[in-house]
Every structure is written in C-alpha cells, then in structure tokens.
Symmetry: C4
Subunit: 256 residues, 4 copies
C-alpha cells in the first residue's frame, strides 16, 4: 500500500483488440458480485491489478482457514476462446464515502481505457421484493444507440429511477472519460443471495458481448437458493396464519 | 473528469455588461430547480461550463430513453432580448458533504466573477407545511441596501432563521468573494413539486433584475399540481374521518 | 475566502506583553458564546483576524434586518484598562467534522502563539439538567500547576469525563503546541440560553487572569432567563399534575 | 502537532533483533486496551513515538487530577528479560473515519517495519453476549502457517465473520506492507470492562511470542469484575422474575 487515499498495484497492462470491461461489486442479493466471481473462475482469468483504498470499510474479513484479508478491488483479464478479450473488475466491498466511490471508479476506468477498453458493463440487482422463477434483466446505458441495441437483445430498459453505488457510478464515470457503458440489472427479491439473477444477467451479457459463458455452476447454486426460498415462503405462510405481522422486516440470509 | 475532488470544464467564458447569475438547485418542493430549468429552456440558454464533483451522490439517474447521467452542475448563459445578460447555474443534486458544498459554491462564484457578474440570486423554497393558492416570496440578502430594494419590490424579508444548503451558501460565498447576493424563497407546502412557488419566485426575479420572464408553462404545471393537491386534501379529509392518525407522515410525491 | 479547507484573513498581528486568549463557541446553553460576545462588546475589542472553513455548516443565517452571514470564526483583540492584553476568539458555529475542528483549533492556536499568547482559556457549559440559582464553575487544565491555581480561585476541578468539541479541543491543541490551557465550565440546566452561567464563568475568569470584567448586562439577561425558567417550572409542575410523562424530552428554547 | 491529518513524533527508533509489535486499542469490553496498558506498565516500557490525528474524536478527556489530554496514540518499546524485544502500540480512542483508521494503521506499521518488526499481534474482544468463567481465545491470521501455529497453541481459529476497526485493520495493513499479523480475541460478554478476557489473551500471547507475562494484577481486576457480574446477574434474575423484558438492552458499565 502506497501512501494516499487510493493505491493501484498494476502487475500487467494487457493490450488487446476491442476488449470489454465487466464489473460486478457486492450489493443487494450479491447479484453482480456472484456473476463477476463466476466469470473470474470459469474463464480462469488472471489478476492484472489490485486496488486498496482508505475509504473501504476499516476491517478485515476472515476466511474458512482462519486467514484474513483487508478489503481490496481486483482487476482480472483473459482472452476468451472465441478471441474476445475480457477484463473483469470486482471488489470485496464498496467504498464507504462518495469520494471513495468516485476515486475507485475513476482509477478502474482509467486503467481500462489505457488497455484499449471502449465499453464498460456493470452487473447489478433490480430489487422487486418478491420472488421470481424467471428473473427479467433490466438495463440502462450511456448512449441511446447502446440502449437500443440492449433492448433488441431482450433487456428491459429502465425509464426512470437511479442506479446507486459503484455499479451505477462506474458507467457514469466511463461516460465522463469518453467510453460507453451499460448496466445490466437482474430482477431479484433482495432477500437472498440470488444466483438465479446472476445467471440471467450473465446470459444476457453473453449475448450482448458475443462471448459464450457457461452458467451451469450458477444454475446449481440457483436451485439451492430456490429450495431456501420455498422454505422461507412456507415459514412465512405459517407465521402469517398464526400471527399476522404486516410490517415485519426480513433480513436476507447469505446462502450463496 | 480531471483527477481531484471537483472538476470544471469551461466551454466559453462570456464577457458581458452587468450580467447577473441566477442559481436554482434541487431542494424541498423543487422550487429552485424548476425555476432554473424554466429559465434555461425559455431563454434558450447555452451551456458554458460543467462541473463534476466526487461529493455528488455516487449514483447515476436514468432518463426516459434508458440512458443515464452522472450528477453534474451546469452553467448556462444568454443575452436576453432586453439586452440584459443572464447566467443560470443548476445541478442534478446537491453535494453530500459540507466540504463539497463549499467547493462547488466557490467554483461557481469564481467563474461568475471572472465573467463580470456582480450580483448572485438564488431561488429556493420556504416551507410552511400547508398549501397556499397565492404563494408569498420571502427573501434575504448580503447587504442592507439590497435587502431594502427587494422589500420595495414586494419581497417579504426574513428576520431570522437560516438558509441551508447550496441556495444559501452560494450567496454567502458570493459575499466572501466581494459580490452581492440575495435569495428569493417561494412559499410552498413542501409536500409536492411546486411549480406555483417557482412561478411566484420567477415573477419577482423578473421585476428585480429587469428581465421579462414568460411563466405560462409554469402556470400550466402549477394547475396540474393544484389538481393533485385537491386530491391529496380530499384523501386527507376522508382518512381523517375514518381513522384519525395525528402523527402520520406524508411522503411528498413528485408530480412535476 | 481562499481555496482550500480553511482560510485565515489576518488584519493585524498585535504583539503584546503576556496576552491571554479567551475562547467561547456556541454549545449547550450558549454559555461560552454569550460570554465571549460579552467580552467583545464590553471591552470594545477590534477584529484582528477572520476564519472561514468548508467544514462549517453549509448555510447562512439571517439577521433581523434581512441580511445574511456565512458562518465564520473571529479573533478580537484589545488592551484592557488594567494594562493586560486580551484576545477573544468566537465563531458562529462549530465545524461539522473532526478534521474541521482540529484544523480550526490549530489555526487559532498558531495565530495566538505568534502573537505571544502563552495561556488559552475556553469558556463552556457544564450540563446538569436542573436549574441552579448560583451556578458553580467547573474546570480542567493542561497542567497540574494551572489546575491547582484554578482550584485556589474557587473553581471546582473535574475529576473525570471529557470536554467535547472546540471548547475542549482548543486547550488540547494548545498543549500540543507548547502552550498552557484551561477550560472553565459554567453549571447550567442545558434547557435555556443561560446568561447566569456565562456571568459566573466570566467572574471567575476575571479573578484568574486579573482583568476586571463588568458583567452587569449579563446580570440583566440572567434575570430575564430566570423569569422564563420560573414559567417553565410552573408549566412543568402543572403538566406533571395533569399527566405524568417521565420520558418526555424538553427542547431547549433560545431566550438569550 | 504538525499541520496535516496525522502527525508522528518519534523520540527513538529502536533497532532490535526480531522484535514483535503488540497492539491493543479501545473497543468492546476494553479487552485489548487493558491488555496493552498492562504490558506497558508491567514491562516498564518507554515511549518511543506519539501520534496525533485530526480524525481522533474532537475532545479532551479529564483525569483525576483535573488535567486534560487530547486523544493520542502511543508506541512503547522495551527488551524483555528473556531477551525478546517488544513494541506495544495503544491509543486513547479509535479514529472516527475509515480514512483516519487506515492512515493511523499505516503510520504504525511503517514505523514498526523500519524498526525491524516482522510480526504484528493485535488484541481484541470476541463478543458473545453471555458471561464465561474461563474465556476462550479466538484468532485469525494473515497466513495459513501462522494460523496453524496459533491453533497448535490453543487458539480457536475463526472460520468466518470479520474484525472491525483498528484491531482488525492493523494486521490487514501489516499484510499489505509485507509483514505477518494475527489478531487474538478474548471471549467476553461485552457488558463490562473484562480484565478476565484480557488476562486470557495475554496468557496466549505469552505462549505464542515466547515472553513470560505476569498477569497477577489483571487477575485481581478480573475478580472485581466477577463480583460485579454476579451482582448484575442477581439483578437480572430478580427483574426477570418481576417483569420479563426479552428485548431489553443492557448498557455496559465501565468497572475497570
């Protein structure tokens, strides 16, 4: 870690023809994070840069083997079999301040631009509060042309509202730096880590960027999630019978 | 976007004789923002500078055509038909920190001063919590002389209290930089986007700066608002009859 | 206002023999602020420096004549009739962040040190929650010697707890910069602007620094306050009779 | 205090063979702070560096003799009788912002690294919400090897969750700077200042770093705490009999 608010360690600056950057950060339902992690493992991407920031939450997370990790952002890269080059950016957490989110977004976009990236896709969650068996994918883009091409691929374009946090800001900053960007948002209840929404988002991404993505592992996870949802619903039905609690809050469990 | 907390892109630095700067930012009832947007569209102002800041909310907003915009501040300019030059500053959001509000205010005032501006007017809302058919316009100014001249034009001068956020700070910073400033606040309930208050504020501004302003479009919007208010009042009356809820909070709806 | 977080405008850097710095900022009961304002007006002090800071609340306050002021800090100076030189620092508000409080404290202490000040006194409130006719004065100091000399003058030295905000921090920073400092805290209910507590604090300050201070105007204010307190108590008694509300919160009214 | 956010005053930069750094900062149950203070007094460590930061809480604390101290961090050093060199870092408070925690952690780790430290241990609390007579010690480490060696010494390695604040961040930053680190967390209810948990943590630390630590004074404190716990439990039993309050919050009392 260098002195200063944000620090970037670059291991490699891959130059490739028409690479895309795909970003997925932790958020509601872990939709974007799960999807990004899936891309990293299924394409066997290699880490090319790492980011630490003093605006990440001041904590370490503990892994199963008792080891700890400070929050960091990671940029991965690989050429896919089809010849298309892909960068993936993900992080353990989102920065805790506006300033931190802008700085990290800017560092990521600048690195990508230097490597020839012209289009930035972010993957996020579209919270509905209810469960869906066939989650829709919503979208928004930095240009009318990109919005129309997404719409043709089956993305339901948003018409108002906003996209908060890094998953929205990254495409906003991309536009400010002269790149194009789009956000794909998987419909999700917001109550559980939703691999089904991640799968839906990746399938559309695959069609949009022209890279085949194997989502079978996410399908397995989604089926596990589905079981938990069924149990939650059964419990909810039961509790509704015995004691109605209209205003009750349900804390999402992490079952990814 | 340059590196750093705030970034200013200047497209043009118009030099004009005795120009005024009018500012309206989002706030309660959207009174100032609506008024500023109305000036921009009715005078066909051209954008002369743009501001991004890492203290704006970290998000993008989605427009009707599915495209997104990161929050930014915009400075517009035109010579009116009467010969008077007018700058208008508006923004998609207010900065999220004290430091961000001071920095943006200072950047705006410095730009205006460089272009010859000597007087800064901000347009804001004066929240009363109840609906009014003929909203008053309240005011405060950086000098006694300006306060008196506003009073002669029919502005009800405030006698205590404070003006929070950019709409207040901009005239405070104007004074620190040697300019004069005044804030015109349109009486509003705070429950709805209030085009009627915006109209009242612009009519007084027109008289104060000696520039005719056509407010017919705001009148239409105000009439729509009036309908919604009537409905809200009818609903409130009804709910009061069926079930009195003294502490109930009413979330303002955006009906602009 | 210069660019940057804090800005200092120095009109004059008076050099004097053994001057003291007395600071009083807004806080509970306005005890310190009232006392500082009283010193400024009764000694006819002249302003020698002014501070603006982007960590002050982003707002302007409106005065009786409809004019506005952005929050600022002010340093005053005069030689008293007895020959002792006195600096007084006060501000319209306290900064809104830790960083802002440290920066302003540091700027004030550095200026004072440059002018020869060796001792810094801050005036504050000691909240008890109940009304007292003869408020005590509590104290704390940066050295054991100063603590003992205050104790001899009738100050009740604190034995634990803490002093939050600028009134505490200023003497902490004074110590870090090699000066001595003490805080005098007037006993107050915390419910009203308490001129009686301000008067008590100034009388002890007068004895400690060897400067006669005329507190007759504060006495008048204190008597007005006393009337309001009697009314509040009467109302409280009455409401207690009709409907006991043990957890009821009483918002302090500004009656200064 | 120098200008700037953080300031480091170094009195001495001891060079020693294989020194370790032990850190304990205020947190739940004061477990780490008590343990660090115990090391400072029982090993008669000397202060070698001092840190002030504008992200510490803006306040001074008052001691028994009426003197005040601004919050600061302190680095101590000594060679133990067994020949092992030990640094101890502690502070009066934790910084109030993410940025402040990162900066202070980084300053501490950089100083330690310069003095030859390769391993950083932090002492913290593991909150369970219930009282235990023989508190366990939990742990997490920056490498698998260190995690395994702690496990062999009797530390129960954490398998998930996170460690918030300086006690977690310090080992995260240590890892980023190429050092090893581990956090030892004493099981505690979180309701009282828990010298028993501090004692348990120090006994394990003693075994891990191979330095004998006399914990008899902590044992006395722990016994006092035990008495208070018994009283609390008796009171809790009684109140449970008279009026069950399942959701009741118990504010921890400081009985250290």
């Amino acid at each position: 870690m260098k002195d200063g608010v944000i620090s970037e360690r670059v291991f490699e600056s891959p130059k490739a023809k028409e690479p895309v950057l795909v970003c997925g950060l932790p958020g509601s339902g872990y939709v974007g994070k799960l999807a990004a992690d899936h891309l990293v493992s299924s394409f066997k991407l290699r880490k090319v840069a790492e980011y630490t920031s003093s605006s990440f939450p001041p904590q370490v997370s503990v892994k199963e083997d008792g080891t700890v990790d400070p929050p960091k952002g990671e940029m991965y890269f690989a050429q896919t079999k089809g010849g298309r080059s892909i960068f993936v950016f993900t992080a353990d957490a989102q920065p805790t301040t506006s300033e931190g989110e802008y700085e990290l977004s800017d560092a990521v976009v600048k690195f990508a631009k230097k490597c020839g990236v012209r289009k930035v896709y972010t993957l996020a969650a579209y919270i509905t509060g209810s469960f869906s068996n066939s989650p829709k994918v919503y979208g928004a883009a930095t240009s009318k042309e990109l919005a129309e091409s997404l719409s043709e691929k089956g993305v339901t374009m948003m018409k108002d509202g906003g996209i908060s946090g890094m998953n929205g800001l990254l495409i906003g900053v991309a536009a400010l730096r002269g790149l194009e960007g789009a956000c794909l948002l998987g419909e999700t209840s917001g109550y559980v880590v939703d691999a089904g929404a991640s799968k839906a988002v990746l399938e559309l991404l695959s069609s949009v960027v022209g890279v085949p993505i194997d989502t079978s592992k996410l399908k397995e996870k989604a089926e596990e999630t589905q079981k938990v949802i069924s149990q939650l619903q059964a419990m909810a039905d039961q509790s509704r019978e015995t004691a109605p609690q209209p205003g009750r809050e349900q804390r999402p469990g992490y079952i990814g």
